[in-house]
């Protein structure tokens, strides 16, 4: 199953990921990305991959995608 990874240090708090897939991404009180789930079933792969690529800070990756 594809695995989702986030680099909180790189995150700039744009929330592009949250807007694209708010069932996988959220933003914590410090304004940084939080992953709500790291395992991405096939059915969600394309959508979550698109959300990860939407990150302007390149802080997200979907591995094995």
């Amino acid at each position: 199953m594809p695995i989702l990874k986030a680099d909180a240090a790189a995150c700039q708090g744009y929330a592009s990921c949250v807007i694209a897939a708010d069932d996988y991404f959220d933003i914590d009180d410090d304004g940084l990305v939080v992953l709500l789930s790291t395992e991405v079933p096939e059915a969600d792969r394309e959508r979550v991959d698109r959300a990860a690529r939407a990150c302007p800070a390149a802080a997200l990756r979907l591995e094995g995608a």
């Binding site: 929330a15 949250v18 807007i19 304004g31």
Partner: protein
């Protein structure tokens, strides 16, 4: 400086200084005193049925996003970014989980909470510089719903919506609760007319007198059975707390016969019997009155009519809701919705919509007739001669303030409020007296709201 006492006293006496229909000072006073205090209609819940659905509507120039958030709750929030004031949502309607400001990219959840604030740490030093925790787009100072209709008030101290509507709620049910499921709406159509907003509100509130004249052609071509002069004056007008309207007198018959007479199929009649109180049914079945046009202060109107459709003698009823959105002292944006009972048969819905389009809406026949008058009235009200003229708005009232027609008793009119048969400008006076009260009271006092500066809130 504008002195409200110049106009208020005349208005209370039933005399209307003609310039109030085209006067920038009056318009400014209306913005501050009327539209910053009153409950104003924004949208109907059926326009945003799904989570994430939203519409953008205004109270004068104040733009609000009305959205259905993830938990199903409706939010009305001021459509202005907390950062530098850009309009956050630029579409008129849609479905979105979030709104992102186009200027610097701040983003908000569809319940208004801030989500994304780019470079929060670098640009503000994080929470210490800008506390984004708990920050949200400004909610409308007051929001409430009745029969699925979403209203807001810019006055946080506004009385509850139900209290404001008061006894008008009784009449609102005829338009917006013909079954326990309520109505669904289509629209709005929007168009602008070069007319002052008050003219339409007054007309719908009680002007039965214009029907035989202004709408004569509609009767002549045989599309409308009712507005013959002698029929219209048999109707009654009523006023109840914050709204009032006109009615037609129906021919003798039972409740069922009368509802059928205006075109409701039996199954809808049955549901009305289940949805309305004994008094609401009596006004039709016992007293023989059927609601037609109505207005709620300040700028919301309703209409219920039953024109003939096709070549038969059959009539078909429709209900419409409209808002007179003030643009300037001489321009109004009209928003017009079609309303129909959710449980109505599909065939009825389709025909009723046709009937609505034929009469009202941007291409409706009644609309065309009315607007010609209102545009011309507004243009004429701009001049210096109009400043001298006090229009006579006293129809139905004698010099000592008594009325020509007696108020109907409880055995003649089952509804609340005050009602009278025949022509009279009782309702227009009620509407304009409320207007005068608020103009005189002046602007509502409101506190400033600061954003993102912890500890300074108390010092504002």
């Amino acid at each position: 400086m504008f002195d409200p006492s110049d106009v208020v006293d005349h208005v209370r006496n039933g005399m209307l200084p003609a310039h109030i229909y085209n006067d920038s000072e009056i318009f400014a006073a209306e913005r501050d005193a009327i539209f910053s205090r009153s409950w104003v209609f924004l949208a109907h819940e059926s326009e945003i049925p799904q989570v994430g659905d939203y519409v953008v509507r205004r109270v004068m120039e104040n733009s609000f996003i009305v959205s259905r958030a993830g938990d199903g709750a409706v939010h009305a929030m001021f459509n202005m970014c907390l950062h530098r004031g850009m309009q956050v949502c630029r579409a008129e309607q849609g479905n979105a989980s979030h709104f992102r400001c186009p200027y610097h990219g701040w983003s908000y959840r569809n319940d208004g909470r801030i989500v994304g604030l780019p470079f929060h740490r670098e640009a503000y030093g994080g929470e210490t510089g800008f506390s984004k925790r708990g920050q949200r787009l400004l909610p409308a100072p007051a929001m409430d719903t009745v029969n699925g209709m979403i209203f807001v008030s810019l006055d946080p101290e506004a009385p509850p919506l139900r209290e404001f509507l008061g006894d008008f709620a009784f009449y609102l049910d005829y338009y917006t609760r013909q079954s326990p499921s309520g109505v669904e709406v289509l629209g709005p159509q929007r168009w602008r007319v070069k007319a002052n907003w008050k003219i339409g509100a007054e007309n719908f509130a009680g002007d039965m007198y214009h029907t035989p004249q202004t709408h004569a052609s509609v009767v002549e071509i045989g599309l409308f059975r009712e507005p013959k002069a002698e029929k219209r004056k048999d109707g009654a007008t009523y006023w109840a707390t914050s709204g009032g309207g006109t009615t037609y007198k129906l021919p003798p018959g039972t409740l069922e016969e009368r509802l059928r007479y205006v075109g409701y199929p039996d199954e809808m009649v049955e549901r009305m019997k289940g949805a309305w109180s004994a008094e609401q049914l009596d006004l039709i079945g016992r007293d023989g009155f059927m609601v037609s046009a109505a207005s709620v202060f300040p700028n919301l109107s309703l209409v219920h009519n039953w024109p003939k459709v096709a070549d038969s003698d059959d009539v078909l009823p429709f209900v419409s809701l409209r808002q007179w959105q003030p643009i300037s002292e001489n321009e109004t944006e009209v928003l017009s919705w079609f309303l129909v009972d959710k449980e109505a048969p599909e065939e009825f819905k389709a025909l009723s919509y046709k009937a609505y389009l034929m009469c009202f809406g941007s291409s409706g026949m009644f609309e065309q007739d009315d607007v010609e008058n209102w545009v011309s009235l507004t243009a004429t009200a701009a001049g210096t001669m109009a400043r001298r003229l006090l229009l006579n708005g006293r129809m139905g009232m004698l010099p000592d303030g008594s009325t020509i027609a007696p108020a109907l008793g409880g055995d003649e009119w089952a509804g609340p409020g005050e009602s009278r048969i025949g022509y009279g400008e009782y309702n227009q006076r009620h509407l304009m007296n409320r207007w005068a009260d608020l103009i005189e009271a002046g602007p509502a006092r409101t506190a400033a709201v600061t954003v993102g500066t912890p500890g300074e809130d108390a010092a504002r």
